[in-house]
Amino acid sequence: MPLELFAILVPLGIALIVLVVHYSGLSKKALLRDGAHAIDLLLEDYGAEKSTGSSILTIDNRAAFIELESGDRLGLVETMGDRFVTRILNHNDLGEYAFNNDNILSVKYHDFTHPAGTYKFGNDNIVSRVADWLKNLKEEK
């Protein structure tokens, strides 16, 4: 196949397929149903971990922090498209983090494909619990 034809066919082909996928209604966005759902997803990927059963969801149900029995680690579940990405965080994974007045948490991670996250929580009480978990994690050695 001539390179010129190939150079035209490939971008057009990509555009066609992506548009068909997008407008076919097949492409969905994932949401966490509740804390138990988030814990199930985490333990499916990290079967050796044990959760305390305590989890905190963001207000948009797109992320959850999960308390683990180990104490020196924290579970994280986030949506990515129609799928979920899970992480077991330890103090080495956690960079700087800060809360603002709108109950929004901004976190930097030492993770090349997941360098940062922004999470909005429902109220001050929830925020303070997450803050405690992150503080404990940061102080773990």
Binding site: M1, V10, I14, V18, A48, M80, D82, D111, T113
Partner: protein, 312 residues
């Protein structure tokens, strides 16, 4: 030097790839066939495919140049004929099996191959999520035996194109099982779903390109089980659709590990050649440990295909 001219089979197959994806999407949408697509995931996979072709055009001279250099030391010249083509296809499929096995068990090669596994989806677009850095791992060394035996590198490249085109159609959930005789000999969607799965029993299994017999011969075959449906992706899934990050994330992670302070030269080297999941302090888990832990939690599964008999 007279180099025979063969068409690039994978480039010629591009219209077929596009048509096949449209058919798969139509089957999922209108016939309720099994399978899922997501816009960003599909876009990333297709960009990875296009990037892989560009990378091959720009850097393909490395592997082809090596093969042509070896060609001058050939023991025989088998020429170009249909029978040589068929025999070379089978022998090259065996070469592919070993390349693929190394790619999963040596982090240096895994760093280029991981992006093919980085989608949590399994559809025909996933087949095109290919490496950009394959020419830099030295995997082309595995071409040497066939070239030394007298298969011309250009003929070999032509033949390998058919292998790659074959592997395209098996990246689908829309096809459950093929006829039994076919499943026994050929790589199929069912066998390859296992290969793309992160369920502990399915890790490091079914490396075949075209013929599944290699996995059965070398003890790496694991059948797909209805009661343990494949979960696709990698053990620690990436959290990005950015093609540049997809292409290079494992290279960056590997070199970051190898160059961290306080390691011995041997430990640094081991981060390059040990299997994914190896760490100098034992804080990470490789596939063997994940399998053992799974058996620890599910003792009834001990000794099943892909799982150890006992917990070590």
């Amino acid at each position: 030097m007279n180099i025979p001219n063969f068409p690039d089979v994978t480039q010629l197959a591009v219209p077929f790839f596009l048509l096949a994806m449209l058919i798969e999407i139509a089957f999922i949408k209108f016939r309720k066939s099994k399978g899922e697509f997501e816009t960003n995931d599909t876009l990333t996979s297709l960009i990875m495919g296009a990037g892989s072709v560009i990378s091959g055009l720009v850097f393909g001279f490395i592997s082809f140049g090596f093969a042509m250099w070896v060609w001058q030391f050939r023991l025989f010249d088998l020429g170009i004929s249909p029978i040589v083509g068929v025999l070379a296809f089978i022998a090259d499929d065996l070469r592919y099996y070993w390349y693929h096995r190394f790619a999963h068990r040596i982090r240096w090669v895994w760093a280029e191959h991981i992006n093919h596994h980085s989608s949590q989806h399994y559809n025909l677009s996933t087949a095109l999520r290919q490496s950009w850095t394959g020419n830099f791992t030295g995997k082309f060394i595995l071409l040497a035996p066939l070239v030394l035996l007298g298969v011309h590198p250009a003929f070999l490249a032509f033949i390998y194109g058919f292998n790659l085109v074959y592997q395209f159609w098996i990246h689908t959930e829309a096809i459950d099982k093929m006829p039994r005789w076919f499943e026994a000999v050929m790589n199929t969607p069912s066998h390859h779903r296992v290969h793309h799965a992160t369920n502990p029993r399915y890790l490091d299994a079914n490396y075949a390109g075209t013929l599944i017999i290699w996995d059965k011969m070398f003890g790496t075959f694991v059948p797909e089980l209805q009661e343990d449906r494949p979960r696709y992706g990698i053990v620690r899934n990436i959290s990005t659709f950015n093609p540049l990050k997809v292409a290079f994330h494992e290279w960056i992670a590997m070199f970051k590990d190898a160059f961290q302070p306080g390691l011995t030269p041997n430990q640094r080297f081991q981060y390059l050649w040990r299997p994914p999941g190896w760490s100098h302090d034992g804080t990470r888990k490789g596939s063997d440990q994940l399998k053992a832990e799974y058996v620890g939690r599910n003792s009834e599964a001990a000794g099943m295909p892909g799982l150890p008999e006992t917990i070590e």
